[in-house]
Amino acid sequence: MSITGDTDVRRRIVDDLDDGFTLLVERYQGGIYSGALRLTRSREDARDVAQDTFLRAYRALGTYDRQRIETLAVKPWLWTITLNLCRSRAKRAKPTRLLAQRESLSTNDAPHFDEREWNLRLAALSNPQRTAVVLRHVGDLSIGEIASITGRPEGTIKTDISRGLSKLRTIMEEEESV
């Protein structure tokens, strides 16, 4: 994976783990939380996933030597942790959780209109499409990075994103026409 970007984060982690980690949290908390929210569709879960992502990252960084940190592709690494946490939550939550989520989509459960709208829209995408769209457009990861994180070919990722966006476009056009 590419290690371009985040040179300052890596340097500060090498110099002082706590200082570098603080910069890492400042930089990525918004993206990781947003991504986790879109993948789990729950504010509570998103908060837990985001916090757990950073705690795991902190513990891991404490065991890495200088060379490993200097060659760490920080952003894809963090998103790999986040995605794994979201997946293990989804597995644990079956089947009652899915049922509850489906119910919540039709109720006024989500605290904000936009959030409920996005939950509904993303629910229409397949899991791979949703994951690819979120990693690309919330996580700002490259196609190659997403392929590496998800273990799927780049061509498939491109197709997932393209079809996911197309589906979202259709849904939003339908929303506007109502």
């Binding site: 980690f21 949290v25 939380y33 929210l37 950073f54 705690l55 513990r59 996005w118």
Partner: protein, 193 residues
């Protein structure tokens, strides 16, 4: 704004306001600080999930910004110490701190950390010389360096650098003055020269 940006406007949201704080504190990458009363007046005490990271009497450090300047760690202000830690602090300040008191010495240079750990082994009511600490580190030539390390003890009172005195039994230096050192030792029942 591209067509995709326009399409996905609103998909990203702001994280909860306290996510950064709670994450850094839970990880141990940032401390919390609060004041607590003591026989020596109000103290600033900072802590991590591992233990106390810093102590400074308020008479020598008026504001929390000053405290952070001294201790040089990312620190968030809390209303008060957690109850279990508060009772341990009260006990240690009243009867003399012991080696079991939880402290967090991460980030402290190896030599100073060793000096402070050796110092923690000195029981309440007893004193040891700087030379004793150097000997305990198997480094008898490091007496002066031991004095310097103790002089920069980030957790005075709870890491008992006040129990280290000169080899002739005289009180020696103390960050908050020799009188306070004397009073601390007397309160702990130490027999002074």
């Amino acid at each position: 704004m591209t067509e995709v940006d326009d399409l996905l406007a609103g998909i990203a949201v702001r994280p909860p306001a306290d996510l950064e704080r709670t994450t850094l504190i839970t990880a141990g990458a940032a401390d919390q600080v609060a004041t607590t009363d003591s026989p020596f007046g109000l103290l600033w005490i900072s802590w991590s999930p591992i233990g106390v990271t810093g102590v400074t009497p308020i008479f020598s450090c008026r504001t929390v910004d000053d405290f952070m300047e001294i201790h040089r760690r990312n620190t968030y202000v809390a209303d008060r110490l957690p109850m279990d830690l508060a009772s341990q602090v009260d006990e240690a300040l009243e009867h003399g701190t012991t080696p079991e008191f939880p402290v967090d010495l991460r980030g402290i240079a190896d030599f100073q950390g060793s000096v402070l750990q050796a110092c923690r082994q000195i029981q309440p009511g007893t004193v040891r010389s700087y030379g004793w600490v150097a000997d305990a580190l198997s480094n008898p030539g490091a007496v002066r360096a031991v004095g310097t390390a103790l002089g920069h003890n980030p957790i005075p009172l709870l890491i008992p650098c006040h129990r280290v005195v000169r080899s002739d039994g005289s009180i020696g230096n103390y960050a908050f003055g020799p009188e306070m050192k004397h009073d601390l030792l007397v309160a702990e029942g130490a027999i002074l020269a």
